[in-house]
Symmetry: C2
Subunit: 420 residues, 2 copies
Amino acid sequence: MNAAPDTAAAWLHEATTEARQAAHILARAPDEQRSQALRAAAVALRQGISAILAANAADLAAAPDNGAFRDRLTLTPARIEAMAEGLETVAALPDPLGRTLAAWTRPNGLHIRRVATPIGVIGMIYESRPNVGADAAALTVKSGNAVILRGGSESLNSARAIQAAISAGLGAAGLPEAAVQITPDADRAHVGAMLAAAGRIDLIIPRGGRALVERVQAEARVPVLAHAEGLCHTYVHRAADPEMARRVVANAKMRRPGVCGATETLLIDAAIAPSLLPRIVADLAALGCRFRADPGARALLPELPAAGPMDFDTEWLDAVLSVKVVNGVEEALAHIARHGSEHTEAIITEDRAAAEAFLGGIDSAVGLWNASTQFCDGGEFGFGAEIGIATGRIHARGPVGLEQLTSFRYVIHGSGQIRP
Amino acid sequence: MNAAPDTAAAWLHEATTEARQAAHILARAPDEQRSQALRAAAVALRQGISAILAANAADLAAAPDNGAFRDRLTLTPARIEAMAEGLETVAALPDPLGRTLAAWTRPNGLHIRRVATPIGVIGMIYESRPNVGADAAALTVKSGNAVILRGGSESLNSARAIQAAISAGLGAAGLPEAAVQITPDADRAHVGAMLAAAGRIDLIIPRGGRALVERVQAEARVPVLAHAEGLCHTYVHRAADPEMARRVVANAKMRRPGVCGATETLLIDAAIAPSLLPRIVADLAALGCRFRADPGARALLPELPAAGPMDFDTEWLDAVLSVKVVNGVEEALAHIARHGSEHTEAIITEDRAAAEAFLGGIDSAVGLWNASTQFCDGGEFGFGAEIGIATGRIHARGPVGLEQLTSFRYVIHGSGQIRP
């Protein structure tokens, strides 16, 4: 299945030409038409359920014998219904296009408006998890962008069946089907061609494990919006409400230990640790959490395993918590600056000055006062849907929803002004 | 002067470590302190004028015998004063940091604010034009970023003298001098090291000719904000005010033919061309403009040279205008979609519906109605100063001023919320 890179590049050249034309039309289509396309796509998904399940069965027949992998690949009627509902949810969101982001009049009378526009052609590279293609298509169509999908090669049949339903929805709404395309075969050269498509693809969004994201970031000649690492901290300040701290830390770590906003390291002030840390540890242990403790924490709880040299630099994504006792906000900030990934950090305190010092001292995309780090999520932010979380500092930070899939342009009204 | 790439990488590792620490401090310094640093830098530039001129003389002694190149490289007391005044101008601009970009409260009571922050560490790669370093340092310091400067190797002494004055200003204001650094020698490996510095430099801004920009875009492993091509159009609609059209086209082409917002192609409606095109051509010819005309224009003005096959795809940056007669807005838009660079386009018309169809039909960063394309400029937009014009669609489009040198983060206040 590895054709020459030339073949992949030729396919992409044609696909991006059509995608660019489709994007031009989508950008000018009214919100109601883009939304109608998504509702029609939901209908097509439901009507195509047998064909989608058959395509998925073909993928599963060839898939490796790995339980977690097969689970992500597997489609069921309930999962297809969830995808359809996802399309309808995005259709119902407010139009992200055409918003006036800023407007002002210059002394010479020129009236300048900055207006939200689509980005253009998005490239979506994801693993063998077919629903990601539906989510990405929903957000890109709603925001007036075209998308080239590249799902994991083991999910090719499933991904193509889903793409076909969405393109059918576009056609039913009178919009170009080429606004949502998918690479035609499992050839890995397609990924390379997409990453090299400067000027033809405006933005690449990788969605998957760290190996995928790192390959995309290392090779892309196209701007990338990606999620790298989420080594999030919760800092329990000495003025924390103990019961709130117990509740929030348990949620921040154990609600879903595998999400990027899960707390990986607990920092707790020495002044409150003797009374509170044993209770927090007991709460978490009861939920199945294991620990890696610094000497300060082990002085209080000698039964905790000692943290190794890299443990405070490790994003566990698992039921494991690194624990360190600190002396105040400055030491907490210094630890986060050294070990954190600038993703999401929280402070638990009743002391406003301490909270402000903490929130002003971190460089992270999201800072929370008295709330769980697991709130770093587009749905919880009220975005309605998200395509991922961005950990860079360019274009978008944090949850990436419809608004983050837009760019802008300037519309200027004059009366014959010339520049002196 | 070509040391091993290892040496350049080692220098950059150290420099970016210090720059990151400096950026962390600048990001938290009050606007008054960042502005004070720029005012002190202006003083240092004026006090250091002899040293700067001596450094510049050393550069000029070794510079190639190319008049335009030497002119860009040459510093004079007036040019140094202009740099100092530029620093003071930027110091006086409003603080771009800390602005609340959006704020909302979720049904669960979480209060979410999106706040403007610096980007972090900027890499500025420019040609042998020393004032660019001063402009870039002013904008990055004001916006709380650190910058690593890499000027053209023939300007090394001048660029270092300017950087020294700016670092002195930072020091005088109690800010870290490492917020503005410059590569220590003319080794070309420094450029490669900067382009490879993913995670250590957050954004590269190249400023110079197309070869420089294209190399940066091709090689960078770091996000790039760059100006590629400005193939701008002015479309004179049939309902144009003829005198306004003459005035605006003459300005759009000939005010400064070498700037990126200069009009390269005139599109004019067949309905108005017989009466108006001869006058526009005469106006421009009197200003020294030459022409490349399509058959429609040559039917009216046979003396105009015929356009060659690539002329409508050529950014002249010179006193040359491509001219084409079209039939209405749709044909103008089709020509721009095929030949344009999505930079800046203008329509001259008294017909609001035609203007709206044109402004809604282009995909360009800037669209103007009844004004000169040469208004595509940060100063003319009211930004106070600009570091360049961005032609991509990610993060910033059009003039790049202080606001475009910021990112954002989320600050969330809760009362113990946990995620369900």
